[in-house]
Structure formats: C-alpha cells, structure tokens
Amino acid sequence: MARNVSTQRKIVVTVVAWTIGILIFFPILWTFLTSFKTEAEAIASPPSLFFFDWTTENYHEVQSRSNYFLHFMNSVVVSFGSTLIGLIIAIPSAWAMAFSPTKRTKDVLMWMLSTKMMPSVGVLVPMYLMFRNTGLLDTRTGLVIVLTLINLPIIIWMLYTYFKEIPGEILEAARMDGASLSKEIIYVLTPMAIPGIASTLLLNIILAWNEAFWTLNLSAAKAAPLTAFIASYSSPEGLFYAKLSAASTMAIAPILILGWFSQKQLVRGLTFGAVK
C-alpha cells in the first residue's frame, strides 16, 4: 500500500517537474525551432510548433550575409586563448599555495578574489583609452588580455580547491619509495591534478564565451566575438526572427553542451568552493 502511494506521488512530481522544466527551457527550444522556419512562418499567427516546412536556409543566409564564421572563430580564439593563458599562469601559483602554504597564503587568496569584485565599469574609461592608444581596440589580442585578467582569480581559486584535495601523504609515500621530484610530479601529482584542471578549463571557457561587457565595449566589426555580433541584431535586423534564431542557435549550442557536462563544477567554480 505504502509503495503504491509513493509511486503515485512520484508520477505527480514527475509531471509537475517536467512541466516546469519545459517552461523554463521553452525560449531556447523556441529559438531552435524558429531557426528552421522561413521568415514568414516565424511570425505566423497562430505560431506552429513542429508542423512547418523545415529549412536550413537561414543558416546559409547568416553566414553569407555577415561572415558568421569569423565571429565564431573570434569567440573560439578569445575564450580558449584567455583560458589557456590563464591556466599557464595560475597552475604554478595554485600549486604553490596548495602544497607549500605559508601564513600569508589565505590573505593572498582572499585578495585575489577581491579583484574579481571590482565592477568592470569602474575601469571602463581607462581601459578603453589605453586600448585606443595602443591599437588594441577591436583586436583578438586585446580581448584575450582582458578576459585572462578578469577570469584569473576564478581559475586560481578553482585550481587551489582541487589541488588542496590531493592528499599530501601520497607525496611522502612516493618519496619514501625513492621517487625523485620530477617522477613525483609526472607519475603521482599530474594524474591526480588533471581532473581538477579539466573542470577549471571547462568552466572558464563557458564564462569567457558568454562574457558580455568587455567584448561589447572593446570590439567592433573585426574582432567581435558572438556576444557582440548577436548584439548587432538589436537593430531592426532583429525583426528577422528566423535569422536571429539561426545565429543564436549556433552561438549557444556549443556552450550548452559543454555546460551540461560540467554541472557539478559549475556550482563549485561559481561559489569559489563555498558550496560543493
């Protein structure tokens, strides 16, 4: 009898949860569907959910009209570039702080985090002027520099919390068995550190891909990543729903997939390890 009640309850919960889940997801689903409609069908009343003539014409149009691929590559270069450079700078620091902490390690970590709290708009003016004077405005290099700096504290923090979990005893054990420092690093530490580094990489690519303050303010036609490119649809161009949808779908699909794989790391990275 009790079992019966709980199955019933489970079904009710399932229906409610799925309904809410689909409602929250609906704008994304709608964008995806609209990207395969013709412009006329996209604004048809009543709107059709699935039963329309599916076409991939919008995707071709978006590419041929505005060189979509360039902006896509800008996003790839800027997000991967800033994340990789950030990792190269951060790994030694996080490593040192996790494995040979001093009295001041905690203060250094907190201070690094505090740089993240500075609102971007507080330094918008000097950054814009410096970029203008050094010719970095609207270049991929410029965007990589800024995004590396704004994400560096998060990268260090995430790596630190992961490295911290590697037990120190395992090092001592390896040393007792006669492993040299280089062997220690290659055979013992690296395999244990890789999952943490991978999660950090993933989360920061997501953050950099979606960053929409500096990319909007420091790039124009040439180096604009997808965030800035899509923003150009806020002009009357945006009234072409099907094309807006096609451009949007291509911009969000890669990150949606990456993000779904890294749900757990998302929580950890975004709360600086305060919630695991």
Partner: protein, 290 residues
Amino acid sequence: MATLHTRSAARLMIAPSVLLLLAWMIVPLAMTIYFSFLRYNLLMPGMEEFAGFSNYSYFLTDPAFFQAIFNTLAIVLGVLFITVVGGIALALLLDQPMFGQGIVRILVIAPFLIMPTVAALVWKNMFMNPVNGLFAWVAKLFGLQPFDFLANAPLMSVILIVAWQWLPFATLILLTALQSLDEEQKEAAQMDGAGAWSRFIYLVLPHLSRAITVVILIQTIFLLSVFAEILVTTNGGPGTQSTNLTFLVYAQALLQFDVGGASAGGIIAVILANIVAFFLMRMIGKTLEA
C-alpha cells in the same frame, strides 16, 4: 616539509599571478580616480584641466543618477527575490524522486549557459514584441490587448529576462546544498511527527541558510553590473527608465565622451560594489578555515 628552498620556489611560482592582478587592480583604478577629478572630454582633446569634485557633484545632482541608483537596486532586489524564492521551490521539487530527473535538471540549468545578448534578444523579439511576440499571441487568444512590455514596463521586462538567466544558478546551488542534508535527520524528524511544513522551516531552511547567503552575495555582485541585457533591449530607455549605474557610466563615457564624468560614476559604482564585497569576502573567508 617546506624547506627554505621550496619556499622561495613557491614565491617564484606565485609571483606572476600576483603581479598581474596587482597591476590590473591598481593601474586602471588609479587612472579612473585621476580622471574623475579632471574636466576631460574626448571631443575636446587638449582641454583637460583639474576640476576638483565638480564631476562628482555633477553626477550626484543629476536626476538620471538617482533614477539609475533606483533602477540598479530594483534590478538587484527584484531578481534576487524571484531567483531565491523560485530557486528554493525548484530545488525542493528537483530533490524529490521522479522519472527523468537528470533531464529535468539539464532543462532547468540551460538558461544560465545562454550568452546574455542572445537571451535578451530572444525575449525582446520573440516573446515580448507587441506585434509578433508569443506573449501578444497568447493575449489575443484570451481576447486581451497585447502588452508592449519594453515600452510600458521596461524595468520589469529587464528584471524578468535577468531573473530567467539567474534562476538556474540559484536552483543549482540550493539543490547541491539540499542534497547534502542528512536523510536520517529528515527521517528522524518525520518519526517525531514533524509535518512537511515544520520540517521545512526548522530543518531544511536552516540547513540551506549558508547556501542562500552565498547565492544572494554572488548574484548581487553580478547583478550590480547588468549591462548587455539593457543595451540590446531598451538601450536604457525610454528616457532613463531602465538605465542602471553601469549603463549610465557607459553612456557617459562612450556616447557622451565625457571621461571625467564617467570616471566619477565608475568610482561610485566601485564604492557600492565594495560594500557588498566586504560581506561576501567574510563569508568565503570562513570556508577557508573549515
């Protein structure tokens, strides 16, 4: 374990990040402070002169400034209210046994992964547009007059869009916290005759309080600088009805070319954010000791 040798090596390993972040924090911020005391307009190069606090007094007496402060607070508080209440409800729901839990989780998380410009434009055009938007169609279905969201309730529309983006964040973090609640504790409370409501008030909510605080503080940091969503939907308008502090400084700098005024606004934004950051840092600092 740490010898003198490894300690100096450690210092060398930390140095690059410390120096970079130090430069990043000090150089532009010092420049902003310097500019904020200058009369400096990009359209009139070579005319810079010391202006004392006049940029600040200009900013602080501008009616647009108070509107912007009000709007900034409205966005922060409005989004926080929706996401925290909604997040708790959703987390409790998703914590129940059900079929296809993993898929529902994926659906709920999705909005957080959407870039702000896409989210805002999709809502603006395909949902809130008074002629072709889905909401207009639904309104007509019920025989109602379509509502022009962005013209008549611009601030509320921005709040709705931003809340949609941040609801998954709150849900995900609260759900993670909820799952660390001891099952046995819940069972014990149930055995003692505690109903669902009192279990929620006396057991679940206190357990979640830490996670809720983290959600509020982190979201506040990000919500104080909402920008892209405003830029592509209302452009701060009509008038300054949906201009927040970040957008006001942006407009002053890159549309009016008033470097001095924008810098003063930027410094005010930094001070506001620091007040919040102070509390957040204390929270996170405590976890380092644990």
